[in-house]
């Protein structure tokens, strides 16, 4: 029988944690013959191959070895080899909860040709007192609680390939992972962007849970920020419309970020000496739990690393100035759909579902009520998004428009604007054709 779902696990010299993950996949609520596992050993030089081979597991395991080419290449390789219709990308440090596979399958049964994101959290025992570890955990917690909201508007920045499943056909239609991201971070965002462009629906499945055995350290966080800086430049180069939603936009205007970059040029020795110099106060404030102080220090360390990454990817300061000057800012006033509540209130859901617009303007007669702005690299607006905004933010404006409406008299013709009076003066010649919209995107 052909398995329904294939799990692809890239790994690199972490045999201990990998074995734990593989063992956890053996105790699933679904029968072992409906899934299989493909482990891609990306340039492993430890005992990974031998240990995987020696394991006795109820499901089929395929082991692929390749020379070190990075996680993106490993995932592509694994995805190319599997034969089942669904792929679940799982990191080697994700210990699966028993309902992981079942939950992914259920979610795919609900949403056709969609992308399902699973949930993961750190094991609670790790380092409960460390404010750094806690802050990282909190970040993930916030991330997932946002995803679980029914009115969340998915963007490419939500995509994380640690625990993510999608149809193989969709993965290949989107063009797989971009292997140019070797040594940079952000290949998952970039894939997510292409999936969103294809119009694939995203779902978050909180039941598809796993435990993330990962101990964050300051050094790793710094490395990651550096890799993110490099990766974001690559994303912005491939998809210039994403520039305004990446942290890169902060480099457009002069601010603390640009000051840091300027120091990097003017006093490179200082920037090289800073991280080791800051390591001590960072450790002191962390162990004394001076939360504010520590947060500012840590934020500064990460920012430096991020902009160092940006700079190293762009090559030079001149190039960076040019990049920040030339990156396009997409027009924010592009109205795709205009709803008049005095007319369309009852048919609102149907109109929004048909339109699937990027930006929606809501008005009541002549009064503007609200505006859902286009967010580059995000899913198109669902009726739920607009309903939520109406219920939470625009209720007052709607009510006041409703109440004012009968009070507003039609305008007195004698008070007609000057524009009307001088209309006669204007030459009829030179008409450039009358368009229905007076404003244009600049």
């Amino acid at each position: 029988m052909r398995p329904k779902i294939s799990i692809v696990i890239p790994t690199h010299n972490r045999s201990g944690i990998l074995v734990q993950t593989l063992n956890s996949l053996a105790v699933q609520t679904v029968p072992a013959d409906i899934y299989d596992v493909t482990v891609v050993a990306d340039g492993c030089r430890d005992d990974t191959v031998a240990r995987v081979r020696s394991l006795a597991l109820p499901y089929t395991v395929r082991l692929i070895e390749q020379s070190p080419r990075g996680a993106a290449a490993a995932r592509n390789r694994g995805a190319a080899e599997v034969s089942s219709p669904l792929i679940l990308f799982l990191d080697d440090d994700m210990e699966a909860m028993p309902r992981l596979i079942a939950a992914h399958l259920e979610a795919h049964a609900q949403v056709r040709r969609g992308v399902v994101m699973g949930y993961f959290a750190a094991p609670r025992a790790s380092q409960p007192d460390d404010i750094f570890v806690k802050s990282i955990d909190l970040w993930w917690n916030d991330h997932f609680s946002e995803l679980s909201s029914p009115i969340h508007r998915y963007t490419f920045l939500d995509v994380c390939t640690g625990n993510l499943s999608l149809p193989k056909e969709l993965f290949q239609a989107a063009g797989c992972f971009d292997e140019a991201f070797l040594g940079k971070s952000g290949e998952d965002y970039e894939l997510g962007l292409r999936l969103l462009k294809l119009g694939a629906p995203f779902r978050f499945a909180p039941q598809a849970a796993s435990v993330h055995h990962y101990l964050p350290t300051i050094a790793r966080a710094r490395q990651r920020a550096f890799a993110e800086g490099r990766g974001h430049v690559l994303i912005a180069r491939k998809h210039p419309e994403t520039f305004p939603v990446l942290p890169l936009i902060q480099g457009m205007e002069d601010g603390p970020y640009i000051q840091i970059v300027r120091w990097m040029r003017l006093r490179p020795w200082m920037m090289a000496a800073l991280p080791p110099l800051l390591a001590l106060p960072e450790r002191v404030t962390r162990s004394l739990r001076f939360r504010r102080r520590w947060q500012r220090l840590f934020g500064f360390i990460l920012t430096c690393a991020y902009w160092r990454g940006v700079l190293s990817e762009l090559g030079s300061h001149a190039e960076m100035t040019r990049f920040m000057n030339d990156m396009p800012l997409p027009p924010s006033n592009h109205v795709e759909l205009e709803l008049d509540l005095s007319r369309d209130l009852k048919r609102m859901d149907a109109i929004l579902e048909d339109g699937r617009a990027d930006a929606v303007a809501i008005r009541y007669g002549a009064r503007p009520i609200g505006w859902m702005e286009p967010v580059p690299g995000s899913e198109r607006l669902r009726p739920a998004h607009v309903r939520h905004a109406m219920a939470n933010w625009w209720g007052y404006d709607y009510l006041s428009a409703l109440l004012r409406q009968p009070l507003e008299q039609p305008r007195d013709p004698s008070e007609e604007s000057l524009r009307g009076q001088i209309e006669g003066l204007a030459l009829p010649g030179g008409s450039t054709g009358v368009s229905e919209k007076g404003t244009e995107t600049l």
Binding site: D254, N325, W371, R419, I422, L427, T439
Partner: protein
């Protein structure tokens, strides 16, 4: 402070402008049948998402109302619309700016004009991205290896097929009626060159607001003007920056046969850092040509977003104008005394005077660093002058062209 830039045509039915959340101001270019009338700067609540038709009409009535009849009356004096539209060659000079160029070419492909061609001059780009961008369009691509904006412009003049040659920079976006405005300027048979209105395409950052508030940015007003040497004093002929900017200018080709092409020692990409356009305006006037300023030939220019870029631009402005003055002095095409008096008495006094004003009266809103940058540029001009002509000689030796200044 973020300003939204948009336009509104009185001849069209008004519509609500959406998407304004986060903007504190809106810059509205008010037009009538496509002709720019004025810029309206409207302050708004940053939280409100839209400017309605009513708001818009109220603003226009109260702010421009009195002057509108005058402007409409003025419109009638313009040449009739049923004129012959000459064919125009558009030259875009660019270097390693693929994203800006893509935007520029996009706007050029939407021009509302019948017969025109676009030639992209790639001025010694280091990557092949420029070529990639042009490949996606129907425009012509020419590579110019000698580095310097004026080398590229001269190459453009040589490659152009038509009798009118218009230049636009890669960081600008032309308005759909741009070439019609140019053609209207050239309807005057004496006009040898036409310049046009340059407005900011984007006002998102502090640097962009500063440059726009600094001597009106690049805009030279909303009224057509005519410049001829016979009507101008000698000082006026030095102050050619009042005529226009190189981002938006066009020439009749015959003028190049008469007075030669652009001076390759000048403008961006050489040590002089600018003034190629000023030099050309001056020479056209000197040869008895008329230059017209046509606000209808409208170009949206994207100013530098960060202060670093702005400072560099002001430095180059100072340097370029200084080199221009020295060139005028050395060629003695006016009384030298006038030039020296202008350089020290007017320009120098202005550069230093505003520093004093800023110190004692808090009278100037340009930041110190920018003022200094322009002054430093001006002081550096004599060295830049020597360096740029040395550099030009070397370039000519390297590429095997004699140094007569004209390679046609």
């Amino acid at each position: 402070m973020r300003t939204f830039v948009t336009e509104y045509d009185l001849s069209r039915s008004p519509a609500t402008i959406w998407g304004l959340s986060g903007y504190t101001h809106v810059n509205i270019l008010v037009r009538n049948h496509g002709r720019p009338l004025d810029i309206l700067r409207v302050a708004k609540n940053a939280a409100s998402p839209a400017l309605t038709e009513l708001d818009l009409e109220r603003e226009i009535d109260s702010r421009l109302g009195m002057s509108l009849p005058l402007r409409f009356g003025y419109d009638r004096l313009l040449p009739p619309i049923t004129m012959e539209w000459p064919a125009i060659s558009v030259i875009v000079c660019t270097r390693d700016r693929p994203y800006a160029l893509r935007r520029c070419l996009g706007a050029l492909s939407r021009l509302d004009y019948d017969s025109y061609e676009v030639v992209v001059i790639d001025n010694a780009s280091r990557t092949a991205e420029t070529l990639e961008v042009v490949r996606g369009t129907t425009f012509r691509y020419v590579c110019e290896e000698r580095q310097g904006l004026d080398w590229a412009r001269n190459r453009g003049v040589r490659e152009a097929r038509y009798d009118i040659v218009a230049f636009v920079d890669d960081d600008a976006k032309v308005d759909a009626g741009w070439l019609r405005g140019m053609a209207r300027g050239f309807a005057d048979p004496d006009a040898m060159a036409v310049t046009g209105l340059v407005l900011p395409a984007e006002l998102m950052t502090r640097a962009q607001h500063i440059i726009e508030g600094y001597g009106n940015g690049m805009s030279k007003g909303f009224k057509p003007k005519r410049f001829a040497a016979s009507d101008m004093s000698e000082t006026d002929r030095i102050e050619v920056h009042r005529i226009g900017v190189g981002t938006n200018m066009a020439y009749r080709r015959i003028i190049f046969d008469k007075i030669g092409v652009f001076d390759t020692a000048l403008d961006v990409g050489t040590p002089s850092g600018g003034a190629g356009d000023l030099d050309m305006f001056h020479r056209v006037l000197l040869a008895g040509g008329v230059i017209r300023y046509e606000p209808e030939a409208l170009v949206w220019h994207q100013h530098r977003r960060n202060m670093e870029g702005l400072r560099r631009q002001l430095y180059l402005n100072g340097c370029g104008f200084g080199v221009f003055l020295i060139k005028r002095w050395s060629e003695a095409d006016g009384r030298r005394g006038t030039i020296v008096r202008y350089a020290i008495g007017r320009w120098g006094r202005w550069l230093v005077g505003r520093l004093v004003l800023k110190r004692y009266r808090h009278g100037h809103n340009l930041p110190w660093r920018l003022m200094w940058a322009e002054l430093r540029g001006a002081l550096h001009a004599p060295w830049a002058y020597l360096a740029t002509y040395r550099h030009d000689r070397r370039t000519r030796e390297k590429f095997g062209i004699d140094g007569t200044g004209n390679d046609r």
